[in-house]
């Protein structure tokens, strides 16, 4: 009996110490630590008494304090209206663009696609800032122009309102809705619509009876995604909502940690609600995307796109969409650029007092905190992109190839942060490392930990997507040919996956450079990142010119990087198409 027991133990140990299983265990520990330790700290802080010197005994006092005033009702109302409004407006704008690009013969489709991708390079903080320059009742130039033209005594628009907040965020996110809905519209099997036409339906009946119901899962999932983004948005509520006294969860959670003394307990108790809402949204999001497959609108074979012929409306429609891009992205950006060349407030089309000058740029480029922040942000972004790509590469490989049975575990761990808004990650990481005896607080390492956690899902999604494109037999035949695991990894897998890894790296790099929501919790006296110095400069009364120049200096390299990514993507796409065409011919 005893011998058998020992044999079983030895066998179990032998199974565990196989290299693949060791890698699996290591990944689970690292990713699990990154995701669950902060979450645990958040829960712990929420459900214990806030003594002012760290968590005390278990208690619900934080919840009583956070949820017992009428203020909470307004908080709920604001957050839900803001997130829902953003989702709806964004979906309408993005859906319209997607429809025009994918289902009509309007020209300029590729341009819109590139513009949508480029919009992604613009940090949300700067969009919000730029909209204030455009639509603020006091300094907004569009308002000033309107007043002048129509002889109004009051500004016709105010960015400092719920509508203004929704517009500022929706104008930033609508390209995302287009990018999400476009592919669905593209692959929707036209024959399903044609079958309806042949069955006797009129053209105007097909849209509501066939097309929209078929698109329902995609629309639902995109709406949920946008709702979640609205819920998690920090930049717009901070810059626009706060002065307008429109509080939402994200700003309240952050504000509580800035009180004197800091109210971590209340902050985490409020965080629970935000986290809960996002988890529910993610749950339904995943269910909707799963059902989307069941709908099987993608048949793949014999697909022949028939587009609505706009005839003489082709160009007007395309120009209309172009105008929308101009309104949503061009207007704020150009305002920001314009302002960056003047020291004081400069409203386009309205006589400006101060002369054109480069001095704002000279100031920023010699501003020591800026140079410091650039260094920190760039190195942080590079490190987090590298770490996330490396970690998710191994995780995705194990999940898909080596241990498909335990793969779901890695998958779920890596995807958990999707449901965690940046402020939640920021707060949770802060609480965790204030409690743990790991001295990373007030260093860039605590930011790195938060960034890696935040971007795990993006890395996982990119890389497992890329890995599923690579047939398993390509690796197996290498093994059978005599290659060791290491050789399979470096000689087969890495070269094949290189474009995907590079794209994931750049993507995460851009996201990390733009990061603000988590960073505001984690910067210390000695550490600054680009997002936080921009915020500080704005709120603490830097000159309009300097703040704008600071923004433009950030946007330009990001646009160059994203354009480079797009170029790389197009090249890879064209190369594989060319190869396929040649193989067909050969």
């Amino acid at each position: 009996m005893e011998r058998n027991g020992q044999g079983a133990l030895a066998r179990a140990v032998a199974v565990v110490i196989r290299p693949r299983n060791l890698a699996l265990i290591a990944c689970v520990i690292v990713a699990g630590w990154l995701v669950f330790v902060p979450l645990a700290a958040l829960f712990y802080t929420a459900f214990t008494e806030d003594t002012g010197f760290g968590p005390g005994p278990a208690s619900l006092s934080n919840f009583v304090q956070a949820y017992s005033s009428w203020h909470i009702v307004r908080l709920f109302g604001n957050s839900l209206i803001f997130a829902t409004g953003t989702a709806v407006v964004t979906l309408l704008l993005g859906g319209l663009v997607a429809f025009v690009v994918e289902r009509t013969d309007a020209p300029l489709g590729p341009l819109f696609h590139s513009l949508a991708l480029l919009s992604f390079a613009i940090p949300g903080l700067l969009t919000a800032m730029a909209w204030i320059f455009v639509l603020s009742p006091n300094i907004g130039w569009v308002n000033a122009l309107m007043k002048q033209w129509f002889g109004l005594s009051e500004a016709p628009f105010s960015i400092y309102s719920m509508g203004g907040m929704i517009w500022a965020l929706a104008s930033h996110y609508f390209p995302l809705a287009y990018l999400a809905l476009g592919p669905v519209l593209r692959v929707l099997d036209v024959r399903l619509e044609e079958a309806a036409l042949v069955s006797g339906a009129r053209y105007w009946q097909v849209m509501p009876k066939i097309t929209l119901p078929l698109l329902r899962p995609a629309i639902l999932s995109t709406t949920l995604l946008l709702f979640m983004l609205g819920m998690s948005s920090y930049e717009v509520p901070r810059l626009i909502g706060r002065p307008a006294r429109i509080d939402v969860f994200t700003t309240e959670i952050q504000a509580a940690t800035q009180n004197a003394p800091p109210e971590f307990g209340i902050s985490s108790a409020l965080g629970m609600t935000l986290l809960f809402i996002c988890v529910v949204a993610v749950f339904f999001y995943r269910r909707a995307t799963r059902n989307a497959e069941a709908f099987a609108t993608i048949t793949g074979k014999g697909y022949m796109p028939t587009r609505i012929k706009l005839r003489k409306w082709r160009w007007p429609v395309a120009l209309g969409v172009l105008f929308m891009f101009f309104l949503a992205l061009g207007l704020p950006l150009m305002t920001l650029v314009w302002q960056s060349f003047f020291r004081n407030l400069a409203q386009p089309f309205i006589g400006s007092a101060s002369p054109f000058t480069w001095e704002n740029y000279a100031f920023i480029l010699h501003y020591p905190i800026f140079l410091d922040a650039v260094k920190t942000s760039v190195s942080l972004a590079a490190m987090s992109a590298t770490l996330v790509v490396a970690l998710t590469f191994v995780m995705a490989w194990i999940a898909l190839r080596s241990a498909p049975k335990s793969g779901w575990l890695l998958d779920s761990i890596a995807f958990t942060p999707i449901a965690m808004p940046h402020v939640i990650v920021g707060a949770a990481v802060l609480f965790a490392y204030l409690m743990l005896p790991i001295p990373v607080y007030n260093t860039i390492w605590i930011l790195l930990i938060a960034y890696v956690t935040l971007y795990l899902p993006y890395g996982m999604r990119f890389i497992s997507g890329g890995l599923t494109q690579i047939h398993k037999e390509l690796e197996e035949v290498a093994e059978v040919s005599g290659a060791r695991m290491r050789q399979v990894f470096f000689m087969i897998l890495l070269p094949l996956l290189a474009p995907v890894l590079l794209a994931a790296w750049i993507y995460i790099f851009v996201l990390a450079v733009r990061e603000l929501g988590a960073s505001v919790f984690l910067i210390g006296p000695g550490t600054h990142v680009l997002g936080t110095i921009s915020l500080t400069m704005w709120e603490e009364g830097g000159s309009y010119g300097a703040v704008s120049a600071l923004g433009v200096i950030q946007i330009i390299p990001l646009i160059v990087i994203v354009a480079g990514l797009r170029w790389l993507e197009l090249r890879v796409q064209r190369r594989s198409e060319a190869a396929a065409a040649k193989a067909q011919a050969g």
Partner: protein
């Protein structure tokens, strides 16, 4: 040569159902022979091949390849695929798209650990391998610019370049179009004979199995149902499954009346009178059996067949002209019988006919 003993491998299917993918299989073949693992999808043939390659880890059993024990679960021996000295060709060909034709073939030599190959030697061997599969002159082509048939040849060249002890082929022809497939089948057979390499061939295509094999192992539900030469498998199936899966067969229900061990014959009472049959699996008097007869072994005539033949009568119900042959369906009262006939003699629909078949071509199968 290789030998597999008591191989077992289970999978957990969705819904936590444990599937015996390979259920206690023993198998082996002598050096230089080609054995085909044949069966429908999900029968365990590919899993067996992958266990042989080391790509799956069996739960039980022992595998020996050319005198080296590569897997023995009882002793905890498991040699990884890289060290088994095998060549393998996959269904998808698995040509590495980031390498040229030359580099694809050279890969096994470049990663070899048992000996170091000089550059000249690598070049020499790669060129010889490519020549063998008639792909010489393509060395510098990117692998993505090859047609399906060329990728197929390239995969063979790569599998053979190390002169492996054993060649494993996982449905290598199934992605080719019909004409190319037949051509490759002939080439493959010639190549295998010329090199004298022990080969395991997995397929679900019975005609490939019959054409290529020295021996066939028919798989179903993770077990080997029957093993034998192509002739044995085709002529003396031991079960309805084998008779039906390999070629096509007519089945008549009956009961064994008499077994004549000496002649290796059984007399089976059917609805059409007594049929004399051979049998692969022993049958006993009184047992319910199926009489299996292949469509091409049946003859059609307007006169009763000669003495010594099993006979039945019926009416022609369908007729399909296929060029070299004509398929007839004959309504025999208790079911339809398929007959494949030469196109010379013509029978029209509704005509009363006599069907005859030699007892040597009738097999009694336990039902």
């Amino acid at each position: 040569m290789f030998a597999i003993e008591n191989l077992r491998k289970t999978f957990v299917a969705p819904g936590n159902v444990v599937v015996n993918a390979v259920d206690d299989i023993s198998l082996g073949i002598a050096t230089g022979k080609l054995i085909t693992l044949l069966g429908p999808s999900g029968c365990g043939k590919t899993t067996t091949l992958r266990c042989l390659a080391g790509l799956e880890r069996p739960e039980g059993g022992k595998i020996v390849i050319a005198d080296q024990t590569v897997c023995d679960t009882a002793r905890g021996v498991f040699v990884p695929p890289s060290d088994r000295g095998i060549g393998m060709v996959f269904q998808s060909y698995a040509i590495w798209p980031h390498m040229t034709v030359f580099e694809n073939v050279a890969f096994p030599l470049r990663v070899a650990r048992d000996r170091k190959y000089s550059n000249a030697e690598v070049k020499d061997r790669v060129l010889r391998s490519l020549e063998m599969v008639r792909m010489a002159g393509y060395e510098t082509r990117p692998a993505t610019q090859l047609s399906g048939g060329q990728q197929q040849r390239l995969a063979f060249a790569r599998g053979l370049v190390r002169e492996p002890k054993i060649l494993l082929l996982d449905e290598p022809l199934s992605n080719l179009d019909a004409k190319l497939r037949e051509q490759m089948r002939v080439e493959l057979k010639l190549l295998q004979k010329r090199l004298g390499i022990t080969t395991v061939y997995v397929t679900h295509d019975q005609s490939e199995a019959l054409a290529l094999s020295d021996e066939i192992a028919v798989f179903n539900f993770g077990k080997i149902i029957q093993r034998g030469t192509p002739q044995e498998i085709y002529r003396q199936p031991k079960s309805q499954f084998v008779a039906d899966f390999i070629g096509s067969a007519n089945f008549l229900k009956g009961k064994v009346k008499d077994v004549r061990e000496a002649e290796h014959m059984a007399v089976v009472e059917t609805a059409h009178g007594p049929f004399r049959c051979i049998f692969g699996q022993t049958v006993a008097a009184g047992q319910d059996v199926l009489v299996s007869a292949r469509p091409e072994d049946l003859t059609l005539s307007d006169k009763p067949p000669g003495d010594g033949l099993n006979a039945l009568t019926g009416k022609v119900s369908h007729r399909v002209f296929l060029g070299e042959v004509v398929d007839y369906l004959v309504d025999a009262g208790d079911g339809e019988i398929r007959i494949r006939a030469k196109p010379e003699a013509e029978f029209h629909i509704g005509q009363a006919v006599h069907v005859g078949v030699s007892p040597q071509k009738c097999v009694a199968l336990p039902s």
